[in-house]
Symmetry: C2
Subunit: 200 residues, 2 copies
């Protein structure tokens, strides 16, 4: 475990915590006080750190997505779990039907189930925009939907390029969790660029 | 205050907390026990809720962005404050220079300052992707940058359409904070759509 800690740059106490929380499988026991940790443990540890530190997942959410990686779930099932894990739980009944209608207008022609966490989260965001008097009469949000479709298409192209099921499923999970952080980061860089082009 | 609570659907205790934290300006005192709250208070209260509940801002971050709305900061300055408020603080020295180089390749031709929080956050995400063995040999992340530019252009078009400085600045703040939530929501809906098109 000391070696695993050094190689991964994760403190021993944190590794023990992940073991207790069943995020990381136990090492192979060698003696009463020693266990063997191999490269699958190192890979899993790096994945846990990426999900929690950069993706901002809770321990419980990280456990859910790791479980789906280890299961034989299909890609659509994996997406559903990954999406739920990174989304705030919202009940359709807590939303204003007018906001759901407005989202469905933006998603017209898309195959999206009523309980898709993104559909519900988007309706909640529209409600918040509306609550502060921000409308999109000029098609602001339709351009977001267009950009979202580009991103999702890039995600799926990337997933399909992976060699086997395990790699595809891991890309679904990692891409879902880290992709949000990437797009928001790139958006801020792009905002500075476009602002600087227009105002200087 | 009881009326403000009823109209806004925000509990009195929460309103008092926002007053103490100086997010909400005090009402005009009428008697020792009564103050007058008008429609600017209601608007501000709705904005606070949108920033905190939907945008996920901390009290301190919400205060920063409200202060910039109330100042006479320029649009680029407002963007900088709004961006810092919604971003995890990252020091360039904590990042691997190779990840910063990789981001700068994605942003080639963009005017982005070295400390742009989005540039730093994106480099951190690339490091996390790399740490779990996820590469983008096929241009995955370049397509994210393209989508980010579309979104930022839509943001700026919307901001410029607002009638006056106060409205423009409020759109910068609200758009920066809520826009992240909207794009991640729409992305999840788009992922279900593209997945369903390809796998069924």
């Amino acid at each position: 475990m000391a070696e695993l800690s050094t190689t991964s740059d994760v403190p021993v106490a944190t590794i023990k915590y992940y073991l207790r929380e069943k995020l990381l499988p136990a090492g192979e026991s060698e003696t009463a006080n020693q266990a063997r940790y191999g490269s699958p443990h190192l890979d899993r540890l790096r994945l846990i750190r990426a999900l929690i530190d950069v993706g901002g997942l809770s321990i419980a959410s990280a456990r859910s997505v790791l479980e789906v990686i280890d299961s034989d779930a299909s890609l659509p099932e994996t997406f559903a779990v990954a999406q739920h894990s990174v989304s705030v739980a919202i009940e359709p009944s807590d939303l204003d039907p007018a906001d759901l209608d407005r989202i469905d207008e933006l998603l017209v022609g898309w195959h999206v189930s009523p309980n898709n966490p993104g559909r519900l989260a988007s309706a909640r965001v529209l409600s918040a925009f509306r609550g502060v008097g921000q409308t999109d009469d000029r098609g602001w949000f339709a351009r977001y939907a267009e950009a979202a479709l580009l991103i999702a298409t890039a995600d799926l192209d990337e997933i399909e390029s992976r060699p086997d099921r395990a790699a595809k499923v891991e890309t679904v999970v990692v891409g879902t969790v880290l992709g949000d952080a990437l797009i928001s980061g790139l958006r801020r860089a792009a905002q500075e660029h476009v602002t600087s082009e227009r105002f200087s």
